[in-house]
């Protein structure tokens, strides 16, 4: 593809120099200043460009902090992450604010554009410009929500992993407790089953301490202790199953939420069509009513017309008979 812009500019220069040699009207050429004349840009254009630049800034911000945010390093607690949760939260809220602001700006630009009276081509053009900006905003929002989803997933994974350890250690500890008939472990267990991100170190200490508690408590008899233990076991199982179900339900709810989102989108798309159809239906009923009225009028007039025709024919008949009688 040949770029002939330079040839064009050379030609322009050539023609200008040719014109200068001729004594033409100098008015046109005085206006050429070194700087191009400032162009009057319409409001729509200026505002639209502003919104686009805001979205670009947001995108740059997200991409810049992306590496730190995601922290593709490790799950293990203890390794220094370059971004604390607080900073992540801050970025999240900032991003959300900017998105909200962009959306509002876009709406105002849209309203202003609709209020203005312009040519239909310009209107169409503006519509599509707004659609383009909208889709750009959606793309950037997707980046943001992806990042966020990764972060949430990591947190959930972390929680899940850290929970498995206590459960495993608890089950091991159980086998030991059932042998030693320990009561104090009961006190420990409810606390550990309710706590989730508690470090496993606390539990490690317990087995070492359990043998000491054997003789200290003499209020509770061994049978009652065993009963308590069984009760505890049952409660623990119940709690476990409940928590499992809860986690499952969580997963399902997330899926349902995504499905709902898809459905809302589709429903919103259909809403427009449905509104149109409703309007058309209303217009149709009104037209039909008017049509019925017109038909009734027509029928009446038809009836009246018929009466007049019959009358006319009767008159003619009688006049014929009269003439016949008269001449005959």
């Amino acid at each position: 593809m040949a770029d002939v812009t330079n040839i064009f500019k050379a030609v322009v220069k050539g023609i200008k120099s040719r014109k200068k040699q001729l004594p033409g009207d100098g008015k046109n050429e005085e206006r050429h200043s070194i700087f191009p004349t400032p162009k009057h840009r319409g409001d729509f254009e200026v505002n639209a460009k502003e919104v686009v630049s805001a979205i670009t800034k947001l995108k740059d911000l997200l991409l810049k902090h992306r590496k730190d945010y995601v922290n593709a390093g490790s799950h293990l607690i203890g390794e220094a992450s370059s971004m604390t949760d607080a900073e992540r939260e801050k970025i999240d809220t900032e991003a959300q604010n900017i998105i909200k602001k962009c959306q509002d700006n876009l709406q105002t630009v849209k309203k202003n554009a609709e209020a203005e009276k312009v040519h239909p081509q310009v209107k169409e053009h503006r519509e599509y410009v707004l659609a383009l900006i909208n889709s750009y905003l959606k793309v950037v929002c997707k980046i943001y929500s992806e990042q966020r989803a990764v972060r949430v997933k990591r947190v959930v994974d972390k929680k899940r992993i850290s929970r498995i350890e206590p459960e495993r250690r608890l089950s091991r500890q159980y086998s030991r407790n059932s042998d030693t008939d320990n009561i104090s472990s009961n006190a420990q267990l409810p606390s550990t089953s309710s706590g989730n991100t508690a470090s496993p170190k606390v539990i490690q200490r317990v087995p070492s301490q359990t043998p000491n508690y054997d003789d200290s408590d003499d209020d509770i008899s061994p049978e009652e202790a065993q009963m308590f233990e069984q009760e505890n076991k049952a409660m623990y199982d119940e709690m476990n199953s409940l928590s499992e179900e809860i986690s499952k339900i969580q997963g399902k709810v997330v899926e349902i939420a995504s499905l709902q989102e898809i459905f809302t989108e589709k429903v919103l798309q259909q809403e427009e069509d449905i509104v149109k159809i409703a309007d058309t239906a209303v217009f149709t009923t009104e037209n039909i009513k008017e049509g019925n009225e017109e038909i009734r009028e027509a029928m009446k007039k038809n009836a009246g017309f018929r009466v007049w025709i019959l009358f006319f024919i009767l008159v003619l008949t009688f006049s014929l008979l009269f003439l016949d009688w008269y001449s005959g």
């Binding site: 593809m1 995108k59 081509q121 053009h125 383009l132 179900e245 349902i256």
Partner: protein, 631 residues
Amino acid sequence: MASSLREKQIHALKRMLNFNTPVNKSTNAEPQWKVLVYDRFGQDIISPLLGVKELRDMGVTLHLNLHSDRDAITDVPAVYFVMPTDDNVQRICRDLQNQLYDSYYLNFISAIPRQKLEDLASAAIHCNSVPQVSRVFDQYLNFISLEDDMFTLRHQDRDSISYYSINRGDVRDTDMEQIMDTIVDSLFSVFVTLGTIPIIRCPRGNAAEMVAERLDKKLRENLRDARNSFFTADSVQAGQFSFQRPLLVLLDRNLDIATMLHHTWTYQALSHDVLNLKLNRVEIEEASEVKSPGGVRPTKKKKAYDLNTSDRFWQLQKGNPFPTVAEAVQEELDAYRTKEDEVKTLKAAMGIEGEDESAISMLSDNTAKLTTAVSSLPELLEQKRLIDMHTNVATALLDQIKSRKLDVYFETEEKLMSKATLDNLLEIISDPEAGTPDDKLRLFLIALICGPTLNDAQIDQYCVALQGANCDIAAISYIRRWKSYTKMTAAPSQYGGGGTKTVNMFSKLMSQGSQFFMEGVKNLVIKKHNLPATRIVDALMEMKTMQDIEDYRYFDPKLLRADSSIPRSRSPFQEAYVFVIGGGNYIEYQNLVDYAKGKSTNVPKKVVYGCSDLSNASEFLKQLGRLGQEM
């Protein structure tokens, strides 16, 4: 991995729409909106390649014709894609005067001559808008790519370079020069877009030779001009890494007229012949019945369908004979129905399960299934749309085939082309039900060209019969003269090898309860035989010696001396571009595609077909008629 001509053209167009900066692949770029202004040539070039949705993705908000009334949309850059004709340049100057847009990116489809550039410059100076003209480009995209391996030159202005204009008796030298220049310019743009220089072969003594000489000269000039050459090492590197140069075969339509009149049996060729496939678009009249109190009134609606490369079914089936296509549509419909039933059972299961709240585990499976079903719903809808479209197209074709008895014509013509006798020719011609007058005329012309020689008395007898069937026999006189001029008595022998197997197959389809009632329509299997054009291309590519190509000229623009008589013996060519001057059609294209596929056993052979314009048989027949009348 060579990308095809079509892809290169799309890439060039996208780059143009991106203000002539290379298109980067990231989708996160800021949207830059623009207005696209084209003339009818630009429209023909863009419409098979980029749909409205793709234009919007590139940021084009409005696309307007150059010569329509356009309102001033200031603050927006405008991309112009027009031919450098006087009218267009004047209109652009007017636009500059009226200050319609903010900045102007002018892209001319072929090179703009110096004079018009000066006109443009003076108009720009006159209205003080020189800084607004941001860039001026010569795009060299003066051709229309319809498929990956097929291109034509003109669609909306095809009369200027049709067979009629080239071969009519009163053509003036200046007209001929103009036509040749147009064709050479377009071929030059094809090779600029590809970035390679071909080796040119052409027969002697007709339009093809003239075009070849001029093209050779133009390529040579451009190569020698070291500053502005398009074929520098950079462009070759950017393109494919084939070390062989392609072969350009220039042929004239007078080589083989019978193919243009032939009745056909493959899907794409049928839709071109019967339904007027234009720029990959078909228009079908659908008769829908509207029930009103006054009775049933059939109203006809015109629906347009796009048949292009994104349609997977079309890509597979376009070269297949019609009954195969009908079966394939049926299969697709069945597959779609099973998928639809799956979704429906899921819906029923969900409905039942929704009342039972305790079965959370069941819900989990269904939720997952529902997610997949919902996400695959758009695909299913798209598939349904495609199947509907192909069903409609195939039904329309079938109606025409049945009413005009096109299968009988096809069979007879195939027999004629393989030099069988023409006993039932007179019956067919005098049969009032079998086909339109055009069909009968085509059959007779093919008999005249390919069949055994008839003496004058027999010909007159046939003419009487044809006139009785409302045919216009002017074309016959032209064909007779053509036959005597071109010593093409050898031509019929080149059609040899074609035979057809008539298998009454309606048993199979009827048993499937198909909606295509093909009773009475014979299943004709096309035997693979090569048309004359394919034979010549085969001989040239494989460096065989054949009697007809002995005296073909040889041009190599890269040679320092313009010595055209000694072909350097090289290895067989892997890539060939076949260009027919005077019109082409899908039958030849399909034949070349089949040939290329057949030959690509271990090393891929690429054959690209081009023609000056695509005429279907009825249009070509009209041209022959006009030529005959003017004789």
